[in-house]
Symmetry: C2
Subunit: 159 residues, 2 copies
Amino acid sequence: MGIDDLDGRLIVLLAREPRIGVLEASRRLGVARGTVQARLDRLQSSGVIRGFGPQVDPTALGYPVTAFATLEIKQGQGADVRAHLDGVPEVLELHTTTGHGDMLCRLVARSNADLQRVIDRVVGFDGIVRASTAIVMENPVPFRIIPLVEQAAEDDTRA
Amino acid sequence: MGIDDLDGRLIVLLAREPRIGVLEASRRLGVARGTVQARLDRLQSSGVIRGFGPQVDPTALGYPVTAFATLEIKQGQGADVRAHLDGVPEVLELHTTTGHGDMLCRLVARSNADLQRVIDRVVGFDGIVRASTAIVMENPVPFRIIPLVEQAAEDDTRA
DNA sequence: TGAATGACTGTACAAACTGCCCAGCATCGC
DNA sequence: GCGATGCTGGGCAGTTTGTACAGTCATTCA
């Protein structure tokens, strides 16, 4: 169920140069086009590759401020809180975590001032007891998956 | 510098059905192909769309456990800590946040037991004073950008 | 050992798409 | 009014895709 070396190289190649097609990828990897197609199909149907959607930069959209908010939820209000947060566009993702019935969400805002508006909207809901926010200053390691893919491919090869 | 309604619809369309080409997109949006091409070029060169890399699911790669770790850093050790974390494949992203010289990072692991190994590796570095980890149980709102895009497009239209 | 299975290669063909070009037209700001 | 900008609609050559098929090779299994 893991990925082998060829899968790994294919994913890394696509991550680095998404514009190339199946044919070009097969040339780069030194395998037949059909092989790349079959691998891609398998990676997608097995869920390893979810899709190739556009990676949108919130900053360029006009939302340069990112923050993480930890929310403390009133017992039994989980579903309501989720629905509420789901309706806030500035909430980019939401996780429930171990601990005191807590949630962690990623927020963006147009400015530090605007962040206050977003937080007010997020927190202004009955099921939320308390919120603590950490504003992101720098992003030394932007979201990446390549090292993990290489690790997974290596583990497979070794196995 | 924002995006207009057509940009918004284009991004949403591509997010929903990434496989379609420029021609098909132009048909769906009811505009000329050249228009879609020009919009796409502009969105990419302006940085709104960073790329179309494969979206890899760590779970399907064999890393079903996600956690967020808050790290307290010793003064002046920031750069070293970043370099250290950059070298750990299981660290998917790293942010520096407001507060006590803190950092927040997203981790994945092969299991809860494996998470201990990852945390040990992350924390086993001199510049890190203390770490607090929250394991993700559920992900009610997976990372999404569409609502924000629609919001941004709407704001632009209104403006 | 021999047969079966699965994966990869190399090739082929029609259909579709891309990249690029251009002329015409409407809108917007100066 | 004039230029700049953006959209339309069309065309063309080159490339890629989707799909198929036969041959090869390594591994699995009886």
